[in-house]
């Protein structure tokens, strides 16, 4: 406890850095998954190719990727950008399938009806298909958020510091308190991110909230089984 109080400044600084390292990959991975997910759904071939690439990318171990990226990107070895790019790749790999499936799951009757009343293709995508894919996309973002917050810690091995620093330092010094600070801090960040995502979902997609009256239609939309009423 004394150690935590004494080192609070450093914990807060690395905690904040952890947050800043986590956010861009989550946002970028999600944003990139939208056009690529749409492309994946367009043709049978593009779906096979894109989703396979996604699967392979996710299988690359993170540490070698961190080490490899500077030579590919021309960045310095300690540049946080390496970690950001690597984590964006992982986020995209996970989000690609989630977004493609989310867009494919939008009810064809609804898109047909949107076309019938005069939605053009572009407007229909942004105004109807993407919002309706929202709940499933959000479920994917929550997984990616937790995974990214946890993967950021690996960056400490190549000197891009986050709360992961405390595992390493604590391990090297045989000092469990410090390791626990790193673990608990990381989990706290992941949980707070998740709560914020759920809250954002509630605010942006009030229609998707299962209410007593909503019944099966909404429940199906969320991909959960309706409670017996």
């Amino acid at each position: 406890m004394t150690w935590i109080v004494a080192n609070w400044d450093q914990i807060a600084r690395y905690g904040l850095q952890h947050v800043w390292l986590s956010v861009p990959p989550i946002v970028a991975g999600t944003a990139l998954s939208i056009p690529l997910g749409q492309l994946a759904n367009r043709y049978r071939l593009s779906r096979g190719v894109l989703l396979s690439i996604g699967g392979i990318l996710y299988a690359i171990p993170s540490l070698p990727l961190f080490v490899l990226l500077p030579s590919l990107l021309g960045t310095r070895i300690l540049d946080p950008l390496n970690v950001e790019v690597a984590l964006t790749i992982y986020a995209l790999a996970l989000m690609l399938r989630a977004t493609a499936d989310a867009l494919a799951s939008v009810d064809g009757q609804v898109t047909l009806s949107a076309t019938a009343v005069g939605y053009g293709g572009w407007r229909r995508f942004w105004g109807v298909e993407l919002p309706l894919a929202g709940p499933v996309i959000l479920a994917g973002v929550r997984v990616v958020s937790a995974s990214t917050v946890s993967l950021v810690t690996v960056g400490s091995l190549i000197g891009v510091n986050s709360l992961g620093f405390f595992f390493l330092d604590g391990y090297q010094r045989y000092f469990p308190t410090e390791i626990w600070v790193g673990i608990v801090g990381t989990v706290v960040i992941a949980v707070v991110f998740d709560l914020l995502l759920v809250l954002a979902g509630r605010l942006l997609m009030p229609w998707a909230r299962p209410s007593r009256r909503a019944g099966r239609a909404t429940a199906t939309l969320l991909g959960v089984e309706a409670e017996p009423s």
């Binding site: 009810d107 009757q109 609804v110 047909l112 009806s113 949107a114 076309t115 019938a116 009343v117 005069g118 939605y119 053009g120 407007r123 109807v128 919002p131 309706l132 929202g134 997609m205 009030p206 229609w207 998707a208 209410s211 009256r213 909503a214 019944g215 239609a217 909404t218 939309l221």
Partner: protein, 247 residues
């Protein structure tokens, strides 16, 4: 007036859905397309707002060939009501009704105000305005669908089996309601159904299609009933006979 001139439609898979159709749909009346599945009635309906384009022939609205019109603008000028309402699940009742005026660039406030008036026209409780479609009953959803179809005050209203998915009691209510609305507004309504009773009840004229989009008979309900053109027509009518309102 909507006019089909020698219209045929062959789908990419080779199915001939409509062949050589000549048909005149008079203005300010209700024309009902009736026929069983595969009779092409929905395909023919969807040609009117260019959801489907014909393989050959032309379709004219008030003398203008719609083949030369921009499809999206055309669709915004024609009301469309479909089965299972086709409402946007993520928009409130009010915003669903206001969809087309908003697409056409109306101010949100004005469009919503007009949508409120339309809720009264179709007999919807004003308290439902902020609900989402999933929170409504099937009958209420269809009423919202009709209100949406009317929102841009189109001359033509296309209705694709709009009451097909509600229970018989609610369907009867909706049919009566549609007749009342039509008396008040006098739209050119094209209504698709597979239910001959519904066709006879609502249609000023009824177009009965046989398999492959061939017009078996066109006429007022009385004419079809008294002088069926052939055995197919009398057979189709008889199949629904025991319940027919014109018995």
């Amino acid at each position: 007036m909507i006019e089909f001139r020698q219209v045929s439609k062959r789908f990419p898979d080779g199915t001939l859905a409509v062949s050589g159709l000549d048909l005149v749909i008079p203005a300010r009346q209700t024309t009902v397309f009736v026929g069983s599945s595969g009779s092409g009635k929905t395909t023919i309906l969807r040609m009117i707002n260019r959801m489907v384009d014909p393989s050959s022939g032309s379709i004219l609205i008030d003398g203008n060939d719609i083949g030369g019109l921009e499809p999206v603008a055309l669709r915004r000028s024609i009301g469309y009501v479909m089965q299972n309402s086709g409402l946007l699940p993520h928009r409130t009742v009010l915003d669903n009704i206001a969809t087309v005026p908003l697409l056409r660039g109306a101010k949100r406030g004005t469009a919503r105000e007009h949508a409120r008036e339309l809720m009264a026209v179709v007999g919807l409780d004003p308290n439902l305005a902020q609900r989402y479609p999933a929170q409504l009953s099937g009958g209420q959803q269809q009423r919202v669908g009709v209100a949406r179809g009317l929102a841009a005050d189109p001359n033509i209203l296309l209705m694709d089996e709009p009451f097909g998915a509600v229970d018989p009691i609610v369907r009867a209510e909706l049919q009566v309601e549609l007749q009342r609305i039509q008396r008040e507004l006098g739209k050119t309504i094209v209504f698709v159904t597979h239910d001959i009773d519904e066709a006879f009840l609502l249609g000023d004229q009824v177009a009965l299609f046989r398999h492959g989009g061939i017009l078996a008979q066109l006429g007022a309900p009385r004419e079809l009933l008294d002088n069926p053109a052939d055995e197919f027509v009398s057979g189709f009518i008889d199949a629904g006979r025991p319940r027919s309102i014109l018995r």
